[in-house]
């Protein structure tokens, strides 16, 4: 059991939750959260780590169903359970890096930016955030990037020049990911996607979150959620 430090709405239906404690984890990994003591909803909910430090871990989430609805009702000092860290996470790389997030896909990119900056002082990190309506948390992202580009209402994939980067780490709607892949024509730029699939256990047991790749079925929770763009088979 862990205690909530705060759990607040930061935009229409979007929440930022911070939980007390020292947790392990790295950019692109996720935790399964459970904020209710009953057997319904039965499954825990997966969320990418937004940030962590020596005394807390935080996540951002959007209320879309029963689980996130219940999470959003929790207040300071309420208890919840979390299991993780799960998944492979983004690779630690060096060079000119673009982090591209669409909608709630921005969630894993804040920690990614922070860790990439610390990993190598020569890394140049540019962040591209695309939103349907309101831009959120841009001041936080501004502080951890060399350049921040925010778009609302358009297609963020049209603003990024994929081939001008050594690495592109992206998370968002499948359309965005496909558009980024289509742009890529240089052997020297590498794209990694953090994908989302309907998940059961988070730990490689239930086999619900299959992700189709050129090397056969992979588990999003265990083999992913981060996959190199060229192995993903978009459905």
């Amino acid at each position: 059991m862990a205690k909530i430090i705060f759990n607040q709405q930061i935009d229409d239906g979007i929440y930022y939750i911070e939980i007390a404690g020292k947790y392990r984890g790295s950019m692109g990994q996720f935790y399964m959260l459970r904020g209710w003591a009953t057997s319904h909803p039965l499954l825990n909910r997966p969320f990418s780590i937004f940030d962590l430090n020596d005394h807390s871990i935080s996540f951002i989430y959007k209320v879309v169903g029963e689980g996130t609805q219940l999470l959003s009702k929790l207040r300071k000092n309420n208890d919840l359970e979390l299991f993780g860290p799960y998944g492979n996470g983004f690779p630690f790389v060096e060079g000119k890096i673009a982090l591209v997030g669409g909608g709630m896909g921005i969630a894993p990119l804040y920690l990614a930016a922070r860790e990439l900056m610390t990993y190598s002082p020569t890394n140049e990190v540019h962040i591209y955030l695309g939103f349907k309506e309101n831009a959120i948390l841009t001041d936080l992202f501004e502080a951890v990037s060399h350049k921040l580009i925010v778009d609302t209402g358009g297609y963020i994939s049209e603003i990024v020049n994929v081939n001008s980067y050594d690495y592109v780490f992206a998370c968002g709607p499948q359309d965005m990911e496909m558009a980024l892949m289509q742009q890529k024509n240089s052997e020297n730029s590498h794209i990694f996607f953090s994908v989302e699939r309907r998940m059961g256990c988070g730990i490689g047991a239930c086999l619900a979150c299959t992700c189709k790749t050129s090397a056969g079925n992979k588990l999003t929770c265990k083999d992913g959620p981060v996959f190199p763009g060229e192995v993903l088979l978009f459905e």
Binding site: L42, L43, F83, C201, I203, C206, L207, A208
Partner: protein, 302 residues
């Protein structure tokens, strides 16, 4: 470890009655606890040939339960023996029993699979005649006594490993299927697998699952599973592994009082990866508080 937790299942000793059920467990649970604390581990349903599993949605929440339609995705028995078994062997060396869950689409596929496993270092075979999520075979072998009898007889002839047959609650008469398995030489039974269920997406006006029906598990099915375990235990003389929605020590003890020798924990592993360990602790706690020296004192007392 409390000796009272030990269970003799046929000729096999389990250090405690808690077994991780097939398809709900992976070696990755090691990041949460020492796997050798478990009484046993059932492998994911293995088939002779690799299977890519079902398309479309594979898991769906329902009131206090889940429906799944994974369709026995697995790498095949050869790769299991080559890749997974060496790791499981280390757990087995510390007394945790390894149970290979085997399935197939045809009798021939079952038999070839069993032949491959006959010399493998596993403690038991769990013959899965109850998977509702594959088109041919699987559950169809568990629906009637006659179908089960035919398969169990042939499998029995191929292996000296203890043979546990996993039954489906969707059978016309589960007691009759159980009795036929006993007559053909099964060493034990495990029940119940998932109940056939259905969900519809009212917006698209289509079934949620590509296969239309899927298997329901979790606390939602516990009372029915318990009743079936009770009925089967009263009508057969071989040991039974009880399962169906077990989430805590109390649930596990209910199955044991209904007659089960061991219990399997499935869906609860998804609620909390430590479920099996908590269940062992809660059973242990109950036995100590009640001054029970052996599970035999309370097994099948109902």
């Amino acid at each position: 470890m409390n000796k009272a937790l030990q269970v003799k299942f046929g000729n096999i000793i389990f250090k405690n009655p808690v077994i991780a059920a097939s398809g709900t467990f992976s070696l990755d649970f090691e990041q949460h606890f020492d796997l050798t604390q478990l009484g046993g581990i059932c492998t994911k349903g293995l088939t002779l040939s690799p299977r890519t599993g079902n398309k479309g949605i594979r898991i769906w929440e329902t009131a206090s339960g889940i429906m799944n339609s994974v369709g026995l995705e697995n790498k095949g028995i050869d790769l299991f023996i080559k890749n997974d078994l060496p790791i499981l062997k280390k757990v087995r060396a510390k007394g945790t029993r390894i149970i290979a869950n085997v399935s197939g689409s045809t009798i021939e596929e079952y038999l070839e699979g069993i032949t491959l496993l006959a010399k493998a270092e596993v403690d038991m075979i769990e013959l899965n005649i109850s998977c509702p999520n594959i088109k041919g075979g699987g559950m169809s072998f568990g629906m009637t006594g006659q179908a089960a009898r035919e398969l169990v007889r042939q499998v029995r002839g191929l292996t000296l490993l203890p043979l546990v047959v996993k039954l489906t609650p969707n059978a016309d008469n589960i007691v009759k299927v159980a009795q036929c398995c006993v007559e053909e030489g099964a060493d034990g039974l495990s029940l119940v697998n998932t109940f056939n269920g259905m969900a519809i997406d009212i917006r698209s006006r289509k079934p949620v699952f590509d296969n239309i029906y899927a298997g329901l598990s979790g606390p939602a099915i516990k009372p029915i599973a318990l009743r079936m375990v009770h009925e089967v235990c009263r009508n057969v003389k071989i040991p039974v592994m009880g399962m169906g929605g077990i989430c805590n020590g109390r649930d596990a003890l209910e199955f044991i009082m209904a007659g089960a020798s061991c219990i399997q924990v499935g869906t609860a592993n998804f609620i909390n990866p430590l479920s099996c360990i908590r269940i062992i602790e809660e059973i242990d706690d109950f036995l100590r508080k009640e001054g029970i020296k052996s599970l035999d004192e309370i097994r099948g007392i109902i």
